[in-house]
């Protein structure tokens, strides 16, 4: 069994262990078992990090490959492999997995056994989705993810949990069914064609191999590409979620338990953006280029719209949820800049958003556990009562609003630089989102933490405990690290991103390098600045 299988199935093993070997009354044992498996999974995923070759190209782009025959008659393979993009997302998943499990210790007090089983199952589904290089396998994992999340929201959620859970489930499922149509269209095109649509196939052996479609993508006639793209688009755009497919998100976030929100924001939303960058872009280059403008417009609307709607939310969690719509708009914008900067920023912003928004949801959960309300108007002056909490909240908010030297800035800047390189107009509109980001987060911060501490219910609040502090500090360390020295993250995604750019725009790199006059000041430098 290879390392990728190990990373994928360790949580599943944990779920089985809890299922059969831990009594449901023994909450402590359940929690610690779940934590142990989450931690083991994270450690194993670190092995991937340290053994990944960031310079792998060509057939070595996807590493740790494991290919087994599964359903030969249909051309279905069990095919695992990761590039730098999946690597980062897997690390994000395993890391946030620990955060999710540990943050649930005191928040979940009933039916713990099912809860932790579902959380671990969810993790297997998510990692499998990032590893799969076979469409069939991908689709299986993609659907597997839905079920545990549905129950996590539906059972451990807030007052409107049922509505939210069903909405989440049906909405995303409808999208993925359309996506399945697109996958089938690709499958038939590669094989025998689609006779009743008068589409000739390539006559290749039937396969679901993603890499095969990367290679034949440009052969698909543009009109067919367009329709296949629309199918993928619906599946992924709902998941992202892009404006106007986003309304399931605030409901799901507000009703989900804290850990559910953390995982939802940190990882599940990235499934959509990951889908675009892994499938839609490299397989359907013509359709991608054709649809740049509509998608960029939707992304920019999402950025500004999400931020403006955040501004007037009365519920903290809903505010953070809408800010996700804004942030994911940045991710989509960067991606459809279709240049290395935009794409790299996009991938990094997926990670950054996971860390920052995950931290914000965790923080909201911490205060919710103490006061059982998320209404902003219930708070005020908390900085006096909970100084440590206030400090950590500020750092998370600053990271989310893209303050330089924290992680959020690196992503947003790179995205906007990429967008500006294509059109300064896009960048101008999107930058409005940065101004608004400061406005809604600082206003939130002011209303919750500053001002007089006049609500008597808040005068007895306890500051973060050690468990919470540990989780938050871990997140803060990553925020600072990614903000100050992000090069190591850029390195692993360099090749995958260039791979996608070449697929979409093969002529992108064929330009004349700029030469700088040696004039004026002599430059002394430790690193080579012109590469």
């Amino acid at each position: 069994m290879g390392i990728l299988n190990l990373v994928t199935y360790i949580p599943l093993i944990g779920a089985i262990v809890i299922l059969f070997f831990v009594r449901k009354e023994n909450g402590k044992a359940i929690r610690y078992t779940a934590t142990a498996f989450a931690v083991i999974d994270f450690i194993v995923s670190l092995y991937l990090w340290f053994n990944f070759d960031p310079h792998g190209t060509g057939t070595h782009l996807f590493q740790f490959r494991e290919t087994y025959s599964w359903i030969p008659s249909l051309g279905v393979q069990y095919d695992f492999g990761i590039d730098g993009i999946s690597l980062l997302l897997i690390l994000l998943t395993t890391f946030m997995g620990i955060i999710a499990v540990v943050s649930s210790y005191s928040a979940i007090d009933h039916r713990q056994k099912e809860y932790y089983i579902l959380l671990l199952l969810l993790q297997t589904g998510m990692i499998g989705t990032f590893c799969a290089l076979d469409f069939f396998l991908f689709y299986v994992f993609w659907e597997i993810m839905l079920v545990p999340m549905y129950f996590i929201i539906g059972i451990w959620g807030g007052p409107r949990k049922l509505y939210a859970a069903i909405k989440f489930f049906i909405y995303t499922l409808s999208g993925s069914v359309v996506m399945l149509l697109s996958i089938l269209a690709l499958y038939f095109f590669n094989d025998g064609g689609i006779p009743f649509l008068n589409i000739k196939g390539l006559g290749n052996p039937a396969t679901f191999s993603v890499l095969q479609y990367h290679n034949i993508g440009h052969l698909i006639p543009p009109q067919l590409q367009f329709w296949i793209f629309i199918g993928f688009f619906l599946g992924f755009a709902i998941k992202v979620p892009m404006f106007p497919f986003h309304t399931w998100l605030p409901d799901a976030h507000v009703e989900a338990p804290t850990a559910g929100s953390i995982i939802l924001a940190a990882v599940l939303l990235k499934m959509g953006t990951y889908g675009f960058v892994r499938f839609a872009l490299p397989i359907l280059p013509d359709a991608t280029k054709q649809l740049i403008i509509p998608i960029v417009v939707l992304s920019i609307i999402g950025i500004i719209y999400g931020a403006l709607v955040s501004l007037v939310q009365k519920d903290m969690k809903k505010l953070v949820a809408y800010s996700s719509v804004s942030h994911l708009g940045f991710v989509m914008l960067g991606m459809f800049a279709l240049n290395p900067m935009g794409l790299k920023g996009s991938v990094l912003q997926m990670i950054n958003h996971g860390i920052s928004t995950g931290a914000l949801f965790l923080l909201v959960g911490i205060i919710y556990e103490r006061r059982h309300t998320r209404m902003i108007s219930e708070y005020g002056g908390l900085a006096k009562q909970m100084p440590m909490y206030a400090t950590l909240f500020l750092i998370a908010a600053l990271s989310s609003m893209g303050l330089p030297a924290l992680n959020g800035f690196i992503g947003e800047f790179t995205i906007l630089l990429g967008a500006a390189n294509r059109s300064i107009v896009w960048a101008s509109f999107a930058s409005v989102g940065i101004v608004l980001g400061a406005a809604y987060l600082l206003w939130l911060y002011q209303r919750v933490f500053w001002g007089p501490l006049d609500n008597p219910a808040n005068k007895t609040l306890l500051d973060v405990n050690r468990r919470e502090l540990g989780l938050l500090l871990a997140l803060v360390v990553i925020m600072v690290w990614m903000g100050i020295k992000p090069a190591v993250f850029f390195d692993v995604i360099e090749e995958p991103v260039n791979y996608v750019v070449r697929k979409v725009d093969p002529a992108y790199f064929d330009k004349r390098p700029i030469e700088y006059p040696p004039a004026a000041p002599v430059v002394v430098s430790a690193v080579e600045t012109t590469r």
Binding site: K24, I155, G451, F490, A520
Partner: protein
């Protein structure tokens, strides 16, 4: 040879200080008993940093200054390859790099040494404050960010510092965060700055698109070698950069945050909102002089905005009664002078004025802090008066600073302001006129401040009808809630109030007055580096020669310093002195000779409308609040409604429609889905095995299958029927 390690330590030491004090403050926020350690860390780190800065400048100057010293520590953001122009491609990677040239040396010395002095002052001023450690954490963090800003070798490192100082400013303005006015002021400052930064970052993007890099050396080398090729885009770039400068340096239309920023403790006002941070915009424009010189249009905009801001803020300053507000508007006005200088091409004069202004305005603010400190937190000048008796050292130093800012020779402010006005005269007669009026106002409001504070008799007891409102927790370090004397409007900046109960004003401790003396001396002698030929200097002046290497030639043509005829120069100098004297004279007549201010009161009644307009700052805040803040909120509320009812309404509508289409009553579905799947699991599952069984035969999946089938059907019908 400059050492790159020492250079790196200059900003890192204050960062380390901030880290140490920050952890201490977070761990134990409420005590100020360990003040000695806090002060030692804060002063030690900034002091050492200042010494290293001096050493760096000495080694750089000693090395002959033949070229800029630039050092890249590591690749910060390796963004990748981007297109430049039509056919070019370049690696847009951003290095974490520092640059030492004469411009950054100047800023480096101002920032570290003025910063250190104000730290010393603050140890005295903040001694009794509860959040002492938190205060010095922010202040040290500010030093770090400000040093990144001036030392950065490319626009991105500058931008890090730029946003970083904005953050520290936010935190320090909101230092008394439990007071709503401080919290509001902090947020306002940050958001106004972000609006400016919006322009700045777009400017940086265009620089990348045009030059393929943000590195000063490379950008300016390209622009300087081939000015014609970049002249077109330069206007856009410069205007965007200037939007950033307007935000940070409080120019029209983004100046509104700076007067409110006075809600912060007074050392903060001196350091951040007078001497260093707010001059960052001027530094940025001068740093980008090569680009600005490519675009006469952009230069003109800078000059006009500067001149208009100078006179606009100066007129407001006339009608303020809060000592810090007067100084705040004075700062906005002086910053306007600096931009006027840059706009007319007197880049060296702009930096010269940055320097002299740092001396006398820091002195004035710290003097005002000393006055406030001595008067038990009082900031209203109408309740002061006669303080010369109680605070002789503060009075003497503030008088010197007043003379300096008013522009009397041979003090520092005279030389820098005269250089600005003289160059303006060469270019634009009308802007020169505006500058002269603003200079008259400056002299007037400064001496008005001086006379109201130090002359006459102590008036605290005599102001009728406005009893000091009761402090909330007497005996504590509190900010007394304060009621505006005229209109009952909640006043925003009563920030410092120990010893509420002591009656007689008293002189401040030596840590404060000592700093005042040093700054006063600098305000006297600081101008001599820019002494013009007429007064025995040279042309170009020492300061101009010093900064000349930064003013790269354009297409081979070297930068020319303006030179006027002897007679013209003499006339200009005499008029400068004349307007300063005029301002002083009016203040003298109204506020010194007439201790009861009866003439001033008469004037105020006579021009009641004008006075109210000035006193209320032309109602710009009200206008902005109504139009922009109110507009954004109303629009957001409308969008929020749209989101909940229209977009989500469509989603729910589609759900209902699907349900009806497939022959399910929605009741049935709800019961199946809701009760069947979730609650069903909820009530019946006893352990995981049942849960899984339930999931396998779950109603959700059935329902979903129906949904999916429907969508497939719709899609199929569509595909078949399309032409």
């Amino acid at each position: 040879m400059v050492s790159s390690t020492i250079l790196l330590l200059i900003p890192l030491l204050p960062a380390l200080g901030a880290l140490i004090n920050g952890v201490r403050a977070a761990a134990n926020p409420r005590t100020h008993k360990s003040r000695t350690i806090t002060n030692a860390v804060a002063l030690g780190s900034t002091g050492l940093s200042a010494l290293l800065a001096a050493w760096t400048v000495i080694t750089y100057v000693g090395g002959g200054m033949s070229s800029a010293f630039q050092y890249a520590y590591y690749t910060w953001i390796p963004v990748g390859l981007g297109h430049v122009g039509a056919n070019g491609i370049a690696n847009f990677a951003v290095d974490f790099a520092f640059r030492i040239d004469t411009l950054s040396c100047t800023m480096l010395l101002i920032v570290t040494w003025i910063g250190f002095l104000i730290h010393v002052y603050a140890t005295g001023y903040m001694a009794h404050e509860e959040g002492n450690t938190r205060f010095f954490t922010y202040l040290n963090l500010f030093m770090f960010m400000m040093l990144l800003l001036v030392l950065g070798a490319n626009y991105m490192v500058m931008f890090v510092g730029w946003e970083g100082v904005g953050l520290c400013s936010y935190l320090l303005i909101g230092f008394y965060y439990d007071k709503n006015f401080a919290a509001d002021a902090g947020k306002k400052a940050f958001v106004a700055n972000r609006i400016g930064d919006f322009g700045f970052i777009l400017g940086i993007f265009l620089i990348f698109n045009t030059f393929g890099t943000a590195d000063y050396g490379k950008v300016f080398a390209l622009a300087s070698a081939n000015p014609a090729a970049y002249a077109g885009i330069a206007t856009t770039i410069c205007l965007l950069l200037f939007v950033g400068a307007c935000g940070k340096s409080a120019q029209i239309p983004l100046y509104v945050w700076l007067p409110d920023a006075m809600a912060g403790p007074t050392p903060v006002s001196a350091l951040i909102h007078a001497a260093t941070m707010v001059t960052a915009g001027v530094y940025m424009v001068v740093r980008s002089n090569v680009l600005f010189r490519l675009s006469p249009d952009a230069m003109l905009v800078v000059a006009i905005v500067g001149a208009v801001t100078a006179i606009f803020a100066a007129t407001i300053g006339i009608a303020q009664n809060d000592i810090k507000k007067v100084l705040a508007y004075s700062t906005v006005s002086q910053l306007g002078f600096m931009f006027l200088a840059a706009g007319v091409g007197a880049f060296t004069a702009a930096i010269f004025h940055v320097m002299t202004h740092a001396f006398f305005k820091a002195c004035l603010f710290l003097g005002a802090g000393s006055v406030i400190h001595g008067c038990g937190g009082e900031q209203d000048m109408r309740k002061m008066g006669g303080l010369r008796k109680y605070m002789p050292k503060t009075r003497m130093t503030m008088l010197i600073a007043c003379i300096a800012i008013a522009g009397f020779p041979p003090l520092a402010g005279f030389f820098s302001k005269d250089e600005i006005l003289a160059t303006t005269f060469e270019h634009h007669g009308f802007l020169y006129f505006l500058g002269m009026v603003a200079a008259t106002c400056t002299a007037f409001y400064m001496f008005r401040l001086y006379f109201m504070t130090f002359s006459g008799d102590y008036r605290a007891a005599h102001v009728e009808g406005h009893p000091e409102s009761e402090p909330e927790h007497a005996g504590h370090d509190v900010i007394p809630s304060h009621v505006h004397l005229d209109d009952g409007d909640a006043h925003s900046d009563k920030a410092h109030g120990h010893h509420v109960d002591s009656h007689d004003p008293h002189e401040s401790p030596w840590s404060m007055t000592g700093v005042l003396w040093i700054l006063a001396i600098l305000a006297v002698i600081g101008g001599f580096v820019g002494i013009p030929e007429m007064f025995g200097g040279a042309h170009p002046t020492i300061f101009q020669r010093w900064l000349a290497p930064v003013l790269l030639p354009l297409g081979g043509e070297h930068f020319e310093f303006a030179e006027a005829s002897r007679l013209q120069e003499l006339l200009l100098i005499l008029s400068s002195i004349a307007v300063a004297t005029l301002g002083w004279f009016i203040a003298y007549v109204l506020y010194k000779k007439d201790a009861a201010f009866s003439r001033a009161t008469a004037l105020r009644t006579r021009f009641a409308f004008l006075h109210r307009l000035l006193e209320n700052k032309y109602y710009v805040d009200e206008f902005y609040n109504f139009v922009f803040v109110g507009g954004a909120l109303a629009f957001s509320k409308a969008l929020s409604w749209f989101d909940a009812h229209i977009i989500d309404g469509i989603v729910n509508g589609v759900r209902h429609l699907t349900v009806i289409l497939f022959g399910h009553g929605s009741n049935l579905v709800d019961r199946y889905i809701v009760d069947g799947a979730v609650n069903g699991v909820g009530y019946s599952a006893r352990g995981g095995s049942k849960l899984f069984r339930k999931m396998q035969s779950g109603f959700v999946q059935n329902y979903a299958l129906v949904m999916a089938g429907g969508i497939v059907l719709v899609a199929a019908v569509y595909l078949f029927t399309k032409p």
